[in-house]
């Protein structure tokens, strides 16, 4: 993996001089869980490097690499073809196109207002409920209607595995979703997932949009090669932008089928709902305070959630973003989190930027 990073870095540095779109997102993040010790391990620098190119003949390439002290990950490796101005087909590893937050933001923390992601759309390795990446095929298209536009996405590919060792993105102890490794396809045990998404922007010039999606994922576990979890999710989302105010909200309905490891055997077939809302107020070009609330409903004894102990079932966040210089921001936020058998407060402070 180190070799891949070095190779990618050299490609990126030479590409920065060529006729391609190149973006680098450096970040330094400090976290502190109330009651825990604070050490230098709580301060994590990272950088996300992005490169894309549209060739005149219609070919497309996209690479994204995330590098931190203990993580080196090829986030996106995509080769595509632009059939016309509104239809693209991709092959490779890409972001699973579900919901609003996950399709709008990923790494590149500078682009999102807050530091953290809502719990239910957190990265698979950090306690998120839905696999973050797929490796396979992706179709993206749009249909303009007056000043508005409909956008659709269809995806099918290898999905995540539920492992007890933790995935990337800073995953620690406990189970989490580990992505298919495009550079090491024999690692792990992965099955297929499918996602369809539809979104509508009433005015292409504005960021307001509404939409819905459905995803079906077959998730292998590392407990037993034959064990597999079936995850079906349908969700709705909205991003409402009016002058200085922005509201983001998503609600997902989950149906899970999880093999039981207790004496009774069989599998648990269960349903639950998760949602969040985030409000942001851009007081001026520099200061943006924000709050968010996320919750999980009807999830008592759900075995899928019990397998993901890093998932906070309820969270309240308050924070502020200060754009103190061109393409650089400082953010501070506090989140009160409730887990299945625990609760704590988490402080986050970060500096994020984009270059060039």
């Amino acid at each position: 993996m180190k070799l891949i990073s070095i190779l990618m870095l050299s490609v990126f540095s030479s590409a920065a001089q060529a006729d391609v779109d190149f973006l680098a997102f450096p970040e330094i993040r400090a976290d502190h869980v109330e009651g825990a010790n604070f050490s230098e391990k709580n301060v994590r620098p990272s950088v996300d490097l992005f490169l894309s190119k549209e060739f005149d003949v219609g070919a497309l390439v996209l690479f994204e690499v995330f590098v931190a002290e203990d993580v080196e990950n090829a986030e996106r490796v995509q080769l595509g073809w632009k059939f016309n101005e509104s239809t693209r087909v991709w092959l490779g590893r890409y972001h699973n196109p579900f919901g609003y937050w996950h399709t709008e933001y990923h790494h590149g923390n500078y682009l999102q207002t807050s530091i953290s992601r809502p719990e239910m759309v957190d990265f698979g390795g950090s306690g998120g409920l839905v696999p973050s990446h797929m490796t396979g095929g992706l179709v993206e298209g749009s249909i303009e209607h007056g000043e508005g536009v409909w956008s659709y996405t269809l995806a099918a590919g290898m999905t995540s595995q539920l492992t007890s060792s933790g995935g990337h993105h800073g995953g620690g102890a406990g189970g989490s979703l580990t992505d298919f490794d495009v550079f090491n396809p024999k690692a792990g045990n992965h099955d297929y997932g499918y996602t369809a998404r539809l979104a509508y922007q009433p005015n292409l010039m504005d960021e307001t949009q509404y939409g819905a999606f459905a995803t079906h994922e077959t998730i292998k576990t590392d407990d037993s090669p034959k064990d597999e979890i079936t995850l079906d999710v349908v969700g709705v989302f909205a991003n409402y932008h009016k002058e200085k105010l922005r509201l983001i909200g998503e609600a997902y309905y989950f149906h899970t089928e999880v093999p039981r490891h207790h004496d009774e055997g069989g599998e648990q077939s269960d349903d639950f709902i998760a949602g969040y809302i985030q409000a942001e107020y851009a007081a001026n070009d520099e200061w943006t305070p924000y709050i968010s609330y996320s919750d999980t409903f009807a999830n008592d004894d759900n075995e899928y959630i019990e397998l993901l102990p890093k998932y906070a079932e309820k969270a309240k966040t308050v924070g502020v973003r200060w754009d103190f210089y061109r393409h650089q921001a400082l953010k501070l936020e506090y989140t009160q989190r409730e887990f299945d058998h625990d609760h704590n407060g988490l402080w986050l402070l970060n500096w994020s930027a984009v270059w060039p």
Binding site: L23, E54, V61, T103, L111, E140, E147, H327
Partner: protein, 162 residues
């Protein structure tokens, strides 16, 4: 005769404050009117575009494709003149520089679609426009007048408003 002269003087004296005010207003406004520069959308002289709406122009500079007669039109951001860029943002894009650039970056980062390129000198911009017959940009009207290979497509606004 004396009475008429006295009457005229009385009128002038009584209206002196108003005359001073009018003179001051005209005096203050004339220089800025004289220096107001018009910002215009331009293309190579070889293009034959149909008129583009304000919505289509905004689309172009936000990185969305606009097609005319089967040809895809693209845009270049002129970053050679800070004032021109500011007027472009105020009058056409209607976003702050921070929000505009963040939107462009987000779109590229999310979709892999090419960003709207920039030209940081007028010479580079003119070269780019003349190399292709499907690219638009913006510049001051007085700059267009000194560039024989470039023509005006649309009026954006002038720099009188802050």
């Amino acid at each position: 005769m004396v009475t008429q002269l006295e009457c005229c003087l009385a009128v002038i004296v009584s209206r002196t404050p108003l005359l001073i005010f009018i003179t001051l207003v005209l005096g203050l406004s004339m220089p800025s009117m004289a220096s107001a520069r018009e910002l215009v959308v331009v293309s190579s002289k070889s293009t034959d575009y149909l008129p583009l709406s304000r919505f289509e122009l905004r689309k172009l500079f936000l990185g969305y494709p606009v097609e005319q007669n089967g040809k895809v039109i693209s845009a270049i951001r002129n970053t050679s003149d800070e004032r021109a860029y500011k007027v472009f943002l105020q009058k056409l894009i209607r976003l702050s520089a921070k929000n505009y650039e963040r939107r462009l970056m987000s779109k590229t980062f999310k979709t892999g679609a090419a960003n709207v390129p920039t030209a940081d000198s007028l010479d580079a911009l003119i070269d780019e426009l003349q190399q292709t017959d499907s690219t638009l940009s913006f510049m001051w009207m007085d700059e267009v007048e000194s560039q024989p290979g470039v023509k005006v497509i649309e009026f954006i606004g002038d720099d009188t408003t802050n």
